[in-house]
Amino acid sequence: MEYFRRTNSFFAAAFVLLLAVGLMAPNWFSYLTTISLAKALVVIGLVILLRAGLVSFGQGLYYCLGGYSVGIAGHYLQWTDGFLVLLIAMVVSGIVAAILGLLLCRYREIFFAMLTMAFSMILYGILVKSVGLGSTDGFNIHSVSFFGWEPGTDKLGLIVYFLACLAALIVAVLMHRYFHSPVGFAGEAIRENEIRVEYLGVSPNRIIFSKYILAAVLAGAGGGLTALASGHVDPEMAYWTTSGEFVFVALLSGTAHVAAVFIAAFLFEIIRTYAFDLAPYNWQMILGATLLLIIFFLPKGLWSIFTIRRAGGGVK
């Protein structure tokens, strides 16, 4: 459709660029990019909620569920097809979110944040207690196949990278449309004024419920991809610090545009990797300072660099 044509061709261009980069870049770089793409999926879910005025400090719950779904399917059930396990990851996350969402969709603000965190930590506790699943050590995912074809370990990284790019493209296109759809705007409307939304004949809770499930499905996909890429899952994925990291990236990106999320996720991984590198003792300080600087100078996230310029251009 005309309406989305420009953005879609932009996404397509970025996709092609990413594929090319994947073929040329060294392995560590494509791994870093795969992880940032996977995390970006989680963060897009978070941004969907943020646009509706909600902050989840517990997206790690679905990130972890996604990872473990992939792991359990591959390791214990011998279902190794990459597409199938990702689908399972999303379905499992969606189902759990549909149950928890019934309760959570009535909560707002800090209470939503704290309750989502509590649920995430409960999953963490369950996994820590699950000796069969390796407790805190987690377990490895050994074999991944695609429609019966098993890439060797040397090629697997690249294949997962392509898979992540594909997933990112699909999600970017669909979610960009979603942001501009009536339901997408209903989220912003809820953030701005729930009473008005109610008086427009729409149930804010129901919209939030659907958004919560959507965010969970995306987080599940992100977790699944991460598991495929790193070949390992552990309960740390559900720990609150992991969820905090997603909020960090969401803040970095802002809620203005889907593309900003991918850029922010990538930037975050780069910043963290270089912080680890430059200051192995004090990387936390660098991250903390970055966070404060972003909040102070770019309160609306990365995309605002871009929109401010656009607005300025408009005046002239």
């Binding site: 309406y3 759809s181 009536p182 004949g201």
Partner: protein, 265 residues
């Protein structure tokens, strides 16, 4: 003309305070009704009960012969009762146009789409039409926070009318609006109401406005209706003169009465 809204013995009390007692009202199709009464007389409570925001302590509400007691505001909106607010309830970080587009789309859709764009050409055109109807087309691209109070009031009413309601409840449409803008504002609103063929009930403190635009007046005092009659008759009613008009502020002073009832969360 047939009755569309009918309340029977509608009452509401908050603890020991009675906000509404035995309200019996009938509103007919396409009727314009003014509601007068001092602050705290129960006018807003009445609107809140009819639209489902407050649950009445007792009584019944029928809309088009259907009992709507206990329905949520969104159900009541869906079946044709809309309202505006004393303090405009808008999406303040969005533009005026976006506010209207959202209102149109949310009101009219049975299922909200997740992939088609909100701002289709036809939706935007319709929204611009609606802004033009209320005389605020110039503000289409402005963010709500930057709008003057009168424009916000109009936008609030325009959003209420987005779903083409059968009954429109306006809570103090002219409060907070500068004196000289009140009549133009009400002219705009009433024209729109007449075109839409909706019945309209509005709360107003300014008796000149009540006199000019209404067919009938409900006068509230201390949670009771003390008069329900054609406008002229009601305004000349002795009790109304004593308890309502007498306590109303004079036109010059009004406007400063504006007070925010929204609690900071």
């Amino acid at each position: 003309m047939s009755v569309i809204l009918k309340t029977k013995n509608l009452s509401k009390s908050f603890g020991a305070v009675t906000a509404a007692a035995n309200i019996n009202v009938e509103i007919h199709e396409r009727e314009i009704v003014g509601v007068i009464g001092a602050n705290g007389a129960g006018k807003t409570t009445f609107i809140n009960m009819v639209t489902g925001y407050l649950k009445p302590s007792a009584g019944e509400i029928d809309f088009r012969n259907r009992n709507i007691l206990g329905l949520s505001p969104r159900h009541i909106t869906k079946i044709g009762i809309s309202r505006s607010f004393q303090v405009p309830q808008l999406f303040s970080e969005l533009t005026a146009l976006e506010n209207i587009v959202i209102a149109h789309r949310l009101m009219k859709a049975n299922r909200l789409e997740v992939q088609a764009p909100l701002k289709t050409q036809s939706a935007v055109d319709a929204a611009r039409g609606s802004l033009a109807e209320f005389g605020i087309a110039d503000y289409a691209e402005a963010q709500v926070t930057a709008l003057p109070q009168g424009t916000r009031k109009l936008l609030d009413i325009a959003m209420a009318m987005a779903g083409s309601p059968d009954l429109l409840l306006l809570d103090e449409p002219t409060s907070g609006v500068a004196m000289e803008e009140k009549f133009p504002l009400m002219d705009t609103v009433m024209e729109a109401v007449k075109r839409s063929r909706a019945a309209c009930l509005f709360v107003e403190h300014d008796m000149e406005i009540v006199a000019r635009y209404t067919d009938r007046v409900l006068a509230f005092y201390d949670g009771h209706i003390i008069a329900d009659a054609p406008t002229e008759e009601a305004l000349s009613n002795k009790e109304v003169r004593e308890y309502v008009i007498g306590t109303e502020l004079h036109r010059e002073k009004e406007g400063k009465e504006e007070r925010t009832y929204v609690e900071s969360p």
